[in-house]
Every structure is written in structure tokens, then in C-alpha cells.
Amino acid sequence: MLESIFIEIADIIRYWFLDLGTPELLTEIILMLIKLSAILGFIIVNALWLVYMERKVAAYIQSRIGPIHTGPKGLLQTAADILKLMGKEIILPDGINRIIFILMPILIFVPPLMTWAVIPFGRDMTAVDIDMGVFYILAVGSLSTIIFWAAGWASNNKYSLIGGMRVVAQMVSYELPLVLGLLGVVMISGSLNLNQIVIAQDNVWFIFTQPIAFLIYLIAGISETNRAPFDLVEGESEIIAGPYTEYSGMGFALFFLAEYANMMVVSAVCTVMFLGGWLAPFGMDFIPSWVWFFLKMYFIIFLFMWIRWTYPRMRVDHLMAFGWKVLVPLSLANIFVTGACIYIFRGIGW
């Protein structure tokens, strides 16, 4: 029953509207709006939780205990932080491009939200099931580069501009190994549809058939979300806070939460592409598929946090060299080996 609880809720709402005499098209539109606002709520609640989780993981790794006072076990710490930031004045410095400066923190949530629309949360639980899923995610996901860059440029501050330029350089160089890494999975599954990729992992997860692609995706994914050890974009000791330097109050909070929303997207895609998405391992079907998806996603997120609080920041030239001289050739080699293996196995008749 738990397995299909969300689908049943959707059906109840659909029939309720149809009973009221709403036209079918309008019902579908209303249902889609409900689905998207549910996803928005999901993202915001998770982003709030992730800030708390990040602080706790960081504290535990550093032999501290983290927030404990606000709410039970410090759970309301992020909510309190956000409330404080909301109460603050949004400072508009002289010489900024006002429209872009104000617009960018609002737009920063658009790419993650758009990406989440196609990600399968569970069996038959995709808000918009399109055949170009992977392509769509990669296309929309790279839009956030422009937003970071525009925020940095509109701030009229040298640190913001350097940060914005670093975002472009870093994201463009790491987008390539990311895409090439995912290509191996797409070659094996023979589909760009995320649901079909999940179903193709019924026998064996792609992390076992494509381990190198998984590693490449993980490294490039950390870089795409601007997290340590690739957080050159907002390296405090070098450029204050990169593109966010001039932002205060809620503008800063939105950028801050968007970082976690982006991290969730990268982890969710990683789960779908390599860890079998909502498929239950070892035939443990009694736990609903959406719980499995959630657990796997949080495993990857924990991995990201663990890595963040272990390694120091890379140098800019090392970052570029690593991206172009190691990751790109490695991902190309991975594609070549995958293609050759597919050919050989097809010849054998597997």
C-alpha cells in the first residue's frame, strides 16, 4: 500500500476534480501544478535539512557536536538562520546592475526545480516522463552557470567577477567529463529515458559495470556543485565568497539553499544512473521504491559531505589540469572500452 501511496493520492485528486466537472485538460494542468509545487516543497524542506546535516557531519568529523540548542537536537537551527536572514536588509551597493542583481537569487532555484521534474522518485513516480531525460537534465543543469556568472558580473565587485569567471571556467571544463561519463551508461542501457535506465539496472547496477564512469561522475559532480575540494568559486580565503560577495539577507540565503538543491540534483541523477534508482537491492521489495531512492540519494549526499570535510581546496591551475588532462581522456577511454565491450558481448551473443 505504501508503495503506491503518492500515485493513489494523485488519482484521488484527479477523480475529485473530474467529479466536479472540470475538463480533462484542465484537470491534468492542475495536477501538474500540484506535482510541481510538491517538488518545490520537497526541495526546500530537504535543502533546510541538508544545511543542518552538513553542519552536523562537519562537527562530527571535527570532533565537535554541532548545533544542539535550537529546537529538539538543534533541528530548527537552519529555520532560525533563514528567519534571521529574512529579517535583514538587502543591501544594494552603488554601481550594480539592479535588475540582474535582484533577479539572479530568484532565478537560481529554477534549474534545480526544472531538473527535478523529470527525475523518477519511485516506481511510476515521475512528474514529467520524457524520453530525453538525461539530455534534458544536462541541458537545464548547465543553465545555473549563467546565473552564477550574471550574479558575479552584476555585483560590480572584483571578487564577484573573479568568482563568476571561475564558475564559468570550472563548470564548462567539468561539464565535459560529466557528460562523457554518463554516455557510457546511456550506451549500455540504450535509452535517454531515466525510467528505462533504472529498469535496465534490474540485474546489475551500473556502478558495477561502469565503475570508472561513476568515479568520473562523482568528481565532476562535486565540481559542478562548487563544493570542496573544488570550491574555488567561493574560496573564502581567496575571493571572499565569489559571486555572492555583495549579497546580503535573503539573496544570500537563496544562493546558499540553491547550493544544496544542486547537490540534491547531482546525487539524484547519480542514484538513477549508477545505483539503480528506485530499484530495491537483494529483492527487499517490502520497503517502498521511493524510500530506496531516498536512501540511495542520501548516501551519495553523505559521500559529498564526507569528501568536503576531508580534503583541502585545489589550486586553480591544478583544477583545470586535472579536468582536461585526466578526467576528459579517462572518460573518452571509458567510452571506447564500453563500446568495444558492447560489440564483443553482442558478437558472443549475450
Binding site: V57, A59, Y60, I61, Q62, S63, R64, I65, I68, W306, I307, W309, T310, Y311
Partner: protein
């Protein structure tokens, strides 16, 4: 090479994550002080013989002592420490022949007003002499009997 150091680093942070935490939830749980910690002074007025050695030993003239003669003994009536001038050297503790003044583990001596900082450790009246005389006679007589 080949990420060996990276794995080692992850192992170390994993161990730290599961290991003992250093943070003490201070106002709720007490921090255990070392035995030689120099905290707030405590005086045992019953042990004190008002000899005034601590007053003389103090390099900053922190201690003010008032005494009154009761019978044959000195009786301590007032013991004030201007703790804002104290450098916690511990000479008064060292010099005390009866071990009456000591350091405690109390660390919070901060106050809202400067005049509240001064420690008024003993402030009492001397007992009336007649009663004390009787006690003295009693004790001396019992002493003789014993």
C-alpha cells in the same frame, strides 16, 4: 599516488566522526579542572587564626582583614578581597599556616558592576565576650580535670 592518500584521509575523518567528541556542553555540564587550577578563593573562617600572613604576602594588597580580640584568641570579623587587583599568584594560599584559604574550581567571577567584583568572604560580628569567657573557663577546667 593513485589516490592512496585520498583513501587514507577519508579513513581518518571516518574514525574521527565515530570517535569521542571534545566539546563539553559547558553551562549544562561542568568542565573538570586540574587539581592545581587557580579559581575563586574560599576561606574557612573557623580555621583562620587572623594572623594576617596572607595580607602581608599579597603583592597587590588585595586582601583586607579585620579582627577582634575575643578572650585570648583573635576572632576574624571581616575578610575582603579586591579580586579585581588579584593576579592569582597563590602566595596567600601558600603562606597560610592553618590551610584556611584555598583555591576552588569556581571560574565565573564576572559581575555586571565593578563594585560587585570585590569578594566579601567573611563579614560577621564577634561573639559577646562573656559567653566566650565561660566557654574558655569550661574548656580550661575540663582540661585540668582530664
Amino acid at each position: 599516488m593513485f589516490g592512496k592518500g585520498l583513501v587514507k584521509g577519508l579513513k581518518i575523518t571516518w574514525k574521527r566522526m565515530l570517535g569521542k567528541k571534545q566539546t563539553v556542553k559547558y553551562p549544562f555540564t561542568k568542565i573538570e579542572m586540574f587539581p592545581r587550577f587557580h579559581g575563586r578563593f574560599v576561606i574557612d573562617p573557623d580555621k583562620c587564626i587572623s594572623c594576617g600572613l596572607c595580607v602581608n604576602a599579597c603583592p597587590n594588597k588585595v586582601i583586607q582583614l579585620e579582627k577582634q580580640k575575643v578572650g585570648t584568641k583573635q576572632y576574624l570579623t571581616k575578610y575582603t578581597m579586591k579580586i579585581e587587583y588579584c593576579l592569582f599568584c597563590g602566595l596567600c594560599v601558600e603562606v597560610c599556616p592553618k590551610d584556611a584559604i584555598n583555591f576552588s574550581e569556581i571560574i565565573d567571577m564576572n559581575q555586571y558592576r565593578r563594585e560587585w567584583v570585590t569578594l566579601k568572604m567573611v563579614d560577621r560580628d564577634a561573639p559577646v565576650e562573656t559567653i566566650d569567657d565561660n566557654a574558655l573557663i569550661d574548656s580550661s577546667s575540663s582540661h585540668k580535670e582530664g
